[in-house]
């Protein structure tokens, strides 16, 4: 589906000192700077995979997506998606992909979504019967039948996002690129989108490439995780392997009956996460020391309650960002 080898992308931008003097200076003598967004990136994606691209803001995830969809041209390296070079933008290629961007809208703002869909029907040359069939099917799945005739500007963000998603599925794409599809949505709406995507993937076996800030999205959807840091690939394996990067650690939460000193050096090695009062702490504890340490804490501290769970992927991510040398 996707073969990328040694992919790089550099951008040029200009800089300016503040104030009037800076403005005049940059008017006559402009300083440019080259920024590397993606560097020497390799990726192989098989049909039917769901891949989560992880990374902080500005890591290069969106740049990758734009190269995969043929929107921008790589500076270096080879890239092949669905058997063609994306930026050649062959008609067939464009008919088989879909792009959903949580921050942007392809629906006409001042019209009902149905108008936009009818336009898309013509763009993608979908015959009437197929179109109507998919329209009904998708609007039932997404539960938006009643929203099709409402002006887009009057919809809530969650409703709009569903229609946005629907608009990019009408032509039955083989690959769907989702850039922050749940951004800004409330928890229920986020879950709706996730459930739908999982369901849709189960039924069609479509390939999904997904970026998100919400680890819950990744955790629910992605079977495979690719971590991007400063334009480079730093990790590429299953979700389980990602969760296990820190060595099979467990998250243990303790609640104390009285305030415990948060500077206590005892907790330091376990990346403690305290509440404001100092009556609750979450620790990352390696599996093999769980028994020993648990007993020690129960004995030495005023524990009233505790529970254990697998390390949430959010904490893995947070720790990796703090200490990238763990990779």
């Amino acid at each position: 589906m996707i073969h990328a080898q040694g992919l790089s992308k550099r951008f040029k931008s200009h800089q300016k000192a503040p104030g009037f003097k800076g403005a005049i200076q940059s008017f006559f003598d402009r300083q440019f700077e080259t920024k590397t967004a993606i560097e020497n990136f390799d990726l192989e994606v098989a049909p039917g995979e769901i891949i989560g691209l992880l990374g902080p803001n500005g890591a290069g995830k969106t740049t990758l997506m734009k190269m995969f969809t043929g929107i921008i041209v790589p500076s270096e390296g080879s890239l092949n998606v669905l058997g063609t070079v994306p930026h050649k933008r062959s008609r067939d290629f464009r008919k088989q992909i879909a792009l959903v961007m949580g921050q942007k809208s392809q629906l006409w703002w001042d019209l009902p979504a149905l108008d936009s869909f009818l336009l898309l029907q013509k763009y993608y040359e979908i015959d009437k019967k197929t179109f109507e069939h998919r329209l009904n099917e998708l609007s039932e799945l997404l539960n938006v039948t009643k929203l099709l005739r409402v002006h887009v500007r009057k919809l809530s963000l969650g409703e709009r996002m569903k229609l946005e998603l629907m608009s990019s599925l009408l032509h039955d794409p083989k690959i769907i690129f989702l850039d922050e599809p749940t951004i800004g949505l409330d928890l229920v709406a986020q879950k709706n989108i996730r459930d739908f995507l999982l369901n849709y993937h189960g039924e069609t076996g479509v390939t999904l490439i997904l970026t998100s800030h919400y680890m819950a999205d990744i955790q629910a959807l992605a079977k495979r995780v690719v971590l991007v840091l400063e334009g480079q690939k730093r990790f590429d394996d299953s979700l389980e392997a990602f969760a296990g990067i820190l060595g099979g650690a467990k998250m243990v939460a303790f609640r104390f009956g009285s305030v415990v000193k948060r500077q206590d050096p005892f907790f330091e090695p376990f990346s403690p996460l305290w509440n404001a009062e100092g009556t609750r702490v979450e620790l990352n504890i390696p599996e093999d020391r769980l028994r020993e340490l648990g007993q020690q804490i129960l004995r030495d501290y005023p524990v009233v309650d505790f529970h254990t769970e697998n390390l949430p992927i959010e904490r893995v991510m947070a720790q990796l960002l703090e200490r990238p040398e763990l990779l």
Partner: protein, 280 residues
Amino acid sequence: MGLAAGASALYGGRDLMIKRIKQYGSIYGAFVSTSFSEAMSFRAHFVLLIVMDLVFYGTHLWSIDILYDHIHLIGTWRREHLLFFASVMLAINQLTMTLVSENYWQFPLMIRTGNFDFHLVKPVSSIFLTFFRTIRPGSMFNMAFTAPAVVYFGLQVDLGFWAWIALPFGIVLGFLLQNSLEMLFSCAMFWMIDGTGVNFIRIEFQQLARWPDFVYPSMLRGALTYLVPVLLIGSAPVRFLLAPSDFWPILGLVVFLLFFWALLGFFWRMGLLAYESASS
């Protein structure tokens, strides 16, 4: 065998072409209807757009009329000649306003916000999506002003039978040249952070084209005829209509059109290569 294959490829090609033309036709139909329903939901703006153009048309013709109260000729043209020229330019302007103008303003915004990305992933020509997506239905009504004006002043300059037949084609050719040029300018927006400046060049060139070519001193006239041929937009058809023996400019116009279409394809591709897409 080879012949048969060739023929079938040819017919296949023709079928494909017909299919494409049908597809683009139906897309354009949808553009018209969506633009219409969109425009109707902003009634005040809809009306103001019409009035704005009419105010411009009125003051432009009136200025010329006032001028001729004090003079007899500009170059060799009397009042009715210049008014005929002006009304042809207004008719071209009205077509542009209706069919394309809005898109020139949306294009830099789409580039700056990154919404242009969506055009690029659609299996439809991105030039088509960029320049023909929005029409201004309101401006269509202004034909009720420009068409009678052209006819009225056409009668005053005594157009012959064939000139009347050629008149609509002349206007369409002027319209095509103006917009091919302006689309070509718009390609520069790919390289600019804020492309709205390009729109101001377009408008400046429109200003220059609003007067007949003989008004300008020879150097400037040459540059604006052979280099950036904005003077051909109106002067070529009008000169031909007034005196059919004066056909060289309109021939030049057609040659420039073909040349610009090739150039537009080239610069558009270059632009797409340079397009960086606004970050998220």
